[in-house]
Amino acid sequence: MSAAQLIIACLLVPAVGAAGIALAGRWPNLRETVTLSTAALLFASVLGLLPKVLAGGVPQLFVLEMLPGIALGFRVEALGMLFALVASGLWIVNSVYSIGYMRGNDEPQQTRFYVCFALALAATMGIAFSANLLTLFLFYEILTLVTWPLVTHHGDEEARKGGRLYLGFLLGTSIVLLLPAIIATWALAGTLEFTPGGILRDKASGPVIGGLLALYMFGIGKAALMPFHRWLPAAMVAPTPVSALLHAVAVVKAGVFTVVKVIVYVFGVDTLAGIRAADWLPAVAGFTIVAASIVALRSDNLKRRLAYSTVSQLSYVVLAAALLTPLSVIGATLHIATHAVGKITLFFAAGAIYTAAHKTEVSQLDGIGRRMPWTMGAFAVGALSMIGLPPAAGFISKWYLLAAAVELGHWTALGVVAASTLLNAAYFAPIVYRAFLRPPPAGAAAHGEAPLPMVLALTATAALTLVLFFQPDVALALARAVAGG
């Protein structure tokens, strides 16, 4: 297939799959078969584009002109390639997991769940491959809207509140901050195409560029930069597969992906470094990293702790991108992938614990590792990756971030990373300790592992976390291409 056909396939396969899932709604086994085959087909389509991108090609697809001079179009470059690979690859694993989780917990409205999931993946592909800011914004908003039914899945008062926060923060920031930023960029630069080196060089004065950067950074609410992070813990009312793939991978990574994309291809790293318009950004990101870690430390609810850990880890990407050196951009790009595999493992484990043992709080987990050794083993691997220790993938991206900070002599960034590493250890190590070394409470209900599909899925992602440490070549090649050689 030609590159353009592959791009169309990446967008249409999940969309058509969603329709198929809806039609097959009455026959659960058929419906799940449709989901799995859609996910496999999507991953194959994305993989088909990989050799072209690795060879230095930039597959493109122009659809139509939405506004005079602004197209709806797609262009696959290294960053989008990596994001699409991560999201579509993990969707397969997540679908296997979902089947176990949704059936194991006897969840209502399963057809709607799978339909929205497939649509969310279609939107994610649109974001990953968008050729310009308008196309990206279109799919960014679609992603918010199609994930709303997943957040409010249970339809109770808590879900309603969570849904309001989710929509309020994500739509609010994107409409009030991001959209004006995009329109102002169009007014200043006369183009919205993502261009290596940026499109704003010499188009505006330093303060205007700085203001625009602030609009973008806070406007991209999905990146959960403080103070616009509250939607992410609120979204945890959703079933765990949603938290795992969407609120640890697709939606939040769409946020930091957009951040990197805007810094590298709209402003241009050199433009920002030259006028020092981004000097404030490491401080905000650093604050988010540390503050979110402290909140995580104090949360007893496991999913809430993981959510704040995500808020913190997302700002690693923002921090790395804001350092504006090739090494740090490599770190930012890699972290999109390495955090994804680690965090999805952690959420999978949390969901498995809930399904098998109906436990949601950290303080209830004494001795659970003996009953669920696979789950808690995978959890330990994920935690290792969050802390950033070898042999887990998180080490690699953190390494590049640290290297960039040392190269620049940026002591704030170094201090933040060091503090965060300690904090990560402080809130993940006790969970592993409790699970394996404390005795289970007396009179606890006997239970084993969660259903097999869930165990398979979390083992797979844990393995992936380790594989990515030993074999980071593809990710590294793509990250180097983003950094410009």
Binding site: L64, M66, L67, L134, L138, L145, R164, V176, P180, I183
Partner: protein, 493 residues
């Protein structure tokens, strides 16, 4: 042969259909005639728009009397665009009315409804097509009288009061307008708009001309429901029959905006309106007041129809805001939003008509769990609501984009901020519906499961589809609006 007379036929055919329907006294035949007339008007408008895009302004001399003595029909980029909007909505509402009216009106009134609908359509099309200032008044009265009747047909007795309120305020508006035209006649000695513009170019800015400008502004502001002259609108929209609300919301205020644009930029000229008097400042101020206050009031309504009626007042504020910017981009935004808001609100009110049919009203207490009971209607309202908010991929987004761009390019950063901030209020009130329909459990007041009839659902969804079509393909809307804006500013002396 026929093609050459289209500028007149587009008005005359619906106008002639009205007495014919009355003579036939049959609901079915009346409906068929009204539908046929509105389809013809739509086809004729499309043909005229194509001709204008190809060959420029069309000037048609009624009865072959040359202007300025005879009445001239003049179709340019702006009026052709409006003709397409009005006739398209007419052609969508006419088939919808068959079942909707049958449910809401006693049988003996059906043929009268169809006749009056044709009169209203003819009046609105006439206001748009004519190139004669007094003829505008004549058609305005035809359209308005028809509207008073249509609103009064509502089955709720409060519809009578709403219609009466509108009658009083509408008549005051029309009187102001005709006084303004009279003053202009005094100065120029002509009623032909093009001729008037030519003469005013030489002696504009005199006191009677300024007085005329003031009278016409106030008169039309009443008609187009510019804050604070919007008081007739919420009741009129809320109590009129469903089909009437959809038709009026999508067309009536829009045509009044058109007449205002015509007078501002063709007759008086941008120079006089924008520089001699503080018209832009006043328009911007009132628009902001309209947007903020009406959006907030909409948020607290207990009835879906009333909520979207107040939303209309706010949306008209966005249109007049674009006019107040007084730049090419601002005018483009205003004209684009005329169209995009027309189809969005048309879709919403048509779908609400379906709810009214099944549930006997559209109060929020009847909407609990509606997503299960009427899935297609609920989804349609949600999707059209997204267009109202201005989510990308919808027509409303195109409007917002052009308006914010216009504000930024004119240097009004704070106005751009205001536009995006107030669209958050739209998020809030649209989401009230979404939460009620999808996240609340149905109770005894929720209608039993079942959709509105196909003849109502299909036209509604046609407009919902249009909300998305014009969110991606803007070659017709934005291009036409840009041409119209260029014409308005370029045509100024």
């Amino acid at each position: 042969m026929i093609a050459e007379h289209l500028p007149a036929l587009v008005v005359v055919v619906p106008l002639a259909a009205a007495p014919l329907i009355v003579l036939l006294r049959s609901a079915a035949l009346g409906w068929a005639l009204a539908f046929a007339a509105s389809l013809f008007a739509f086809g004729a408008s499309l043909a005229l728009a194509a001709e204008v895009a190809r060959a420029g302004v069309i000037s048609y001399h009624l009865g072959s009397w040359p202007p300025p003595w005879g009445i001239e029909y003049r179709i340019d980029a702006l009026s052709a665009f409006l003709l397409v909007l009005v006739s398209a909505i007419g052609a969508v509402v006419a088939p919808y009315a068959w079942r909707s009216i049958a449910a809401e009106l006693p049988r003996e009134q059906h043929y009268l409804y169809h006749a009056v609908f044709c009169l209203c359509l003819a009046g609105l099309l006439g206001m748009t097509a004519t190139g004669d200032a007094f003829n505008v008044f004549v058609f305005m009265e035809i359209a308005s009288l028809a509207m008073y009747v249509l609103i009064a047909l509502g089955r709720d007795r409060r519809a009578l009061l709403a219609s009466f309120q509108y009658l009083i305020l509408g008549t005051i508006g029309a009187t102001f307008y005709v006084v303004g035209v009279g003053l202009l006649y005094l100065v120029t000695g002509t009623l032909n708009i093009a001729d008037m513009a030519e003469r005013l170019a030489h002696d504009g800015g005199t006191r009677p001309v300024l007085a005329a400008l003031a009278f016409i502004t106030v008169g039309l502001s009443l008609k187009l429901a510019l804050f604070p002259l919007h008081l007739w609108l919420p009741n009129a929209y809320a109590y009129a029959p469903s089909a009437v609300t959809a038709f009026l919301a999508a067309t009536a205020t829009k045509v009044s905006v058109y007449v205002l644009l015509r007078f501002y930029f063709t007759v008086f000229g941008a120079g006089l309106v924008l520089e001699t008097l503080p018209v832009p400042e006043i328009l911007i101020g009132l628009s902001i007041a309209a947007i903020v206050s009406a959006s907030l009031v909409a948020l607290w309504q207990a009835d879906l129809k009333r909520m979207f009626a107040y939303s209309s007042v706010a949306q008209i504020g966005y249109i007049t805001l674009g006019i107040g910017l007084a730049t090419r981009d601002g005018l483009t935004a205003a004209v684009v939003h005329l169209f995009n808001h027309g189809i969005t609100k048309g879709a919403l009110f048509l779908l609400i008509g379906g709810i009214a049919l099944r549930a006997g009203g559209a109060g929020f207490e009847r909407l609990r769990g509606l997503g299960r009971a009427m899935p297609l209607t609920s989804l349609g309202i949600t999707l059209a609501g997204l267009s109202l908010i201005g989510v990308p991929g919808t027509a409303g987004f195109i409007s917002k984009w052009t308006l914010v761009l216009g504000a930024i390019e004119a240097g009004y950063w704070w106005l751009a901020a205001l536009v995006v901030l107030t669209s958050l209020i739209a998020v809030a009130y649209v989401w009230r519906f979404v939460e009620a329909a999808y996240l609340q459990a149905p109770d005894a007041r929720t209608p039993p499961a079942g959709e509105a009839p196909f003849s109502m659902l299909a036209p509604s969804w046609l407009l919902v589809g249009a909300c998305f079509w014009f969110g991606f393909d803007t070659s017709f809307t934005v291009e036409s609006a840009r041409r119209a804006a260029a014409l308005m500013l370029g045509g100024a002396p």
